[in-house]
Amino acid sequence: MRPGRERLALHLAILLLSAVGIAYEIALMRVLSVAQWHHFAYMIISIAMLGFAASGTAVALLRDRLEGKERQLLAAGALLLTASLVACYALSQRVPFETFRLATEPAQLRYLLALYLILAVPFFLVSWCIMLGFLLEPRRIGRIYFLNMLGSGLGAAGIVALLFRVDPADVPYVLTLPAALAFVLAALGQPRLWLAGLALPAGLLLLTGRQPVRLSEYKGLSYALQLPDARVVAVETSPLAVVTAVASSAIRETPGQLSGYPMRELGALPEQVGLYFDGGAVSVVSRFDGSLEPFAFLDFVTGALPYRLVERPKVAVVGAGGGIEVLSALRHGAEHVTAIEVDPSVFHLMRTELREFSGGLYERGDVTPVHAEGRRFLEAQEDGAFDLIQVALLDSFNASAAGVHALSESYLYTTEALQLYLRKLSPAGVLSITRWLKTPPRDAIKLFATMVEAAERSGIDDPGRHLAFIRSWNTATLILSRSPLTDSQLAAVRSFGEERGFDVSYLPGIGPEEVNRFTVLEQPLYYEAAQRLLSKERSDLFGEYAFNVRPATDDRPYFSRFFLWRSLPRFIAASRGGWFNFVEWGYVALVATITQAALAGLFIVLLPLLIFSRGEHGTQRGGVMLYFAALGFAYMFLEIAFIQRFMLFLAYPVYAVSVVLTAFLVFSGVGSYVADRRLRAAQSAGARRLVRGAVLLIAALGVLYILLLPPAFRAAADWSDAARVASSLLLLAPLAFLMGIPFPVGLQLTSNARPSLVPWAWGLNGAASVLGATLATLTAIHIGFRAVVLFALGFYAMAALALARLTPATTSARERADGVYAP
């Protein structure tokens, strides 16, 4: 075969393998979100990194033995990858890992380790192939890198499209095809017999068959499926979530405690179908035949309070789901209900399989279903359009697990979000938010604090006159009114509490004797907190409270993060070993991942390379280490920060992840390609100038974006989806283009000076990227996204400083003869 065609085949193979790698990573994140919980997305990132780092180490150590066999080994890697995609997935689903049992069963740690090792294999192989690509074309590092980035970008976009049609559990099977094609391309030029190797993945496929996701026994769907007459009515899949509709006579979900409900007189609850999102959070669809009589029970939950304050309201329900809050609004005489739901599967199910059951709830004249993200939709509405905005009792249902990283950010509960809700209320309108309560108290206190600050920022002088707070034993409903609550409204809150047995924890003028009567707490903490939040003691409370109850903001949109490190000693002292009851698993997973990534980086990348390459290129190694580690951190910090920034603009987390990831990867790839061409004519001094120029421009753009993006996004509130995606790509393109330059240029400089350091640099950068991704999230949680961007710029500055040490003066003889690139 002609070398030109062979090279083209190689390039296509690299492109495909890169696409498969990222698609597999995202698919596994979805699989783990279904099997366990979404914060395990972090685990996949660190598993991928483990694979990447390990193969970097392997190639670095085996380099001499690989020489001359690169092409065969690349093809072999692609073949094994083809086989491992399904094999490793299927095997991983047979490991009986359970998060909740980690504390009781020592075997669980072994299962977790087994999951790590099994799932790291495909990533090891992807990275192995790409590195062999670098070795095959040592003078076209930039080109290979470009193909890797382009492939990854296409993979990220492709997997989102795929997840609309294909269940995450089937993705490994689908990806076998492009992987096999990559193998065939890589094997071109080898003896034909090689193709017989395809028997291996084919055989494994036949052997494993379809392996469903192993659902944790502690997830809502697992419980539902054990109910005596449970049956799955429908399954819908989208990149946001797999929605499983389960019917059973024993499903009876209500938005909180039914207090004093006279079931004998008013009847049992209507039959329900539970919609389980990724096997976890549930939203119910009720049997509905047009009669609202059977929904009397909805007046016996705290969430019914706003209907005592507004008459015949125009209602907007954010997070309408199966429609229980919509039914409540209709039952309470709403004039019109706008039902906003972010997950497309819900409306689709209600129009198809569940249409008859749900009585066409979303097709009534007085109900308008809106498939949109709540804030995004409300932003585009006229001010004063609604008399009641209700944020449904959403569990931090968060689709961002579909993508890279998004622990539990929610833009529905930030101060800015509440300001928006206030603007959209009519003068007599109210905002009503219900939350599940935790013990010790935290959610409702944070929500109250957020309401107070949102009111103040909206120009309300005396927020205390606009607020009401009632609670049952498991929910709290908080009201924020546009105008001060009238005397008759105050009386209505009191009488609602009295009638139903709900405690009023705050109301203007309420006294301590009124607040702790029906669900008695050891101490009236909600009342005390509310009083302090409305006084000058607010910041004292934030400083003294054992949980983080400071309002969430768009810069730090982590409403559900309550854990504070400073409280850990108190938790331990108070609970004698039960301290983990007070921390949040998502947060623990994040910290654990950082630890794992740091340890893996240390033991799999740094130590082996330091031990086995002792004495080689001492000083230069330091420079390489600093340069590539700083770049890994910098790149991921910016990527994570922009995913978060664009989440608000692109409305759907999964689109944000997909658009930002694709833009970053593709345009960085283009940047590396252009840099590659520029380098051909340049000396290493020129290469360094190129990198420094790029870093300066990145810094300038970074600062500009921090300042200009929020107002620009607000100005584009009524743009269409397509316009938003297009403008996002345009905005991100120059930044990503510049960010694509430093890495391949550095790699080329390293390759020219000390080729044996290339796999090391690659592995190190991989390790830093993963650590960077998790550290960026931790930084965002604690300091905010602006800080993440500033840190990223700091890392770029560090890289620019380390650049000079990348090529020692002694190696410049070759450069002088050839230029950096000898074409």
Binding site: T104, Y223, L258
Partner: protein
């Protein structure tokens, strides 16, 4: 087995003191209620998994719930969520009759067989949906609801005798839980108390 370990259940500042409860905790062979592979932990003060997403509560919680019910010989107790049958056995040591309902069939079968083998003939196990309680046997002088739910089933409140108590452990699986104590007063009105087994006040300042 060190059964004495759970004979004086305390956690933080909360201690179970009722002699009958402590006696029952000492008598019931907890190791026969836990899965064989967790035998070593049978008498540790922690919840253990029993499969199907269910747990056997930690001994302290079982003791505390039993004490909070304030029941005695001759009383009839309803339990929703039999699980392994351990709570039913502890109650059976103290009260007249225990009626327990489990929705997961294999768990119900195992618990019934286990309780019969241990000679608890004052416990009746039923496989089914506990939402509507056990009307034929009502009223009850105490109810324990271990199945997590978005609301307390109204029929259970109806079947609770005025003056009696209902206890509901609340919290994620396999973690220390908060106890909800529901008291039905003689006039039929309901008062709930949220009890933390862990003495913990989230304010720092000492007042």
């Amino acid at each position: 087995m060190v059964r004495e370990q759970i004979a004086s259940p305390t956690l933080g500042e909360y201690a179970v003191e009722d002699g009958r409860v402590l006696g029952a905790m000492r008598t019931v062979p907890r190791h026969l209620f836990v899965p064989p592979d967790l035998l070593k932990l049978a008498y540790a003060d922690r919840p253990l998994p029993i499969g199907h997403g269910q747990t056997i509560s930690q001994p302290f919680i079982v003791a505390a719930m039993t004490e909070l019910l304030q029941v005695g010989p001759g009383d009839r107790i309803l339990e929703i969520g039999t699980g392994s049958g351990y709570q039913a056995a502890v109650l059976a040591e103290i009260v007249g009759r225990v009626f327990t309902i489990e929705i997961v069939e294999p768990l119900a079968e195992d618990a019934e067989e286990r309780l019969r083998r241990l000679g608890y003939d004052n416990v009746e196990v039923r496989w089914g949906d506990g939402y509507y309680g056990w009307e034929e046997k009502a009223p009850f002088q105490g109810i324990v609801v271990t199945a997590a739910a978005s609301h307390i089933p109204p029929p259970l409140l109806e079947q609770l005798q005025p003056g009696a108590r209902m206890v509901i452990p609340v919290g994620p699986p396999l973690q220390v839980q908060t106890l909800m104590l529901v008291e039905k007063r003689l006039d039929g009105s309901i008062v709930q108390r949220s009890l933390m087994p862990v003495r913990f006040v989230p304010f720092t300042r000492s007042e």
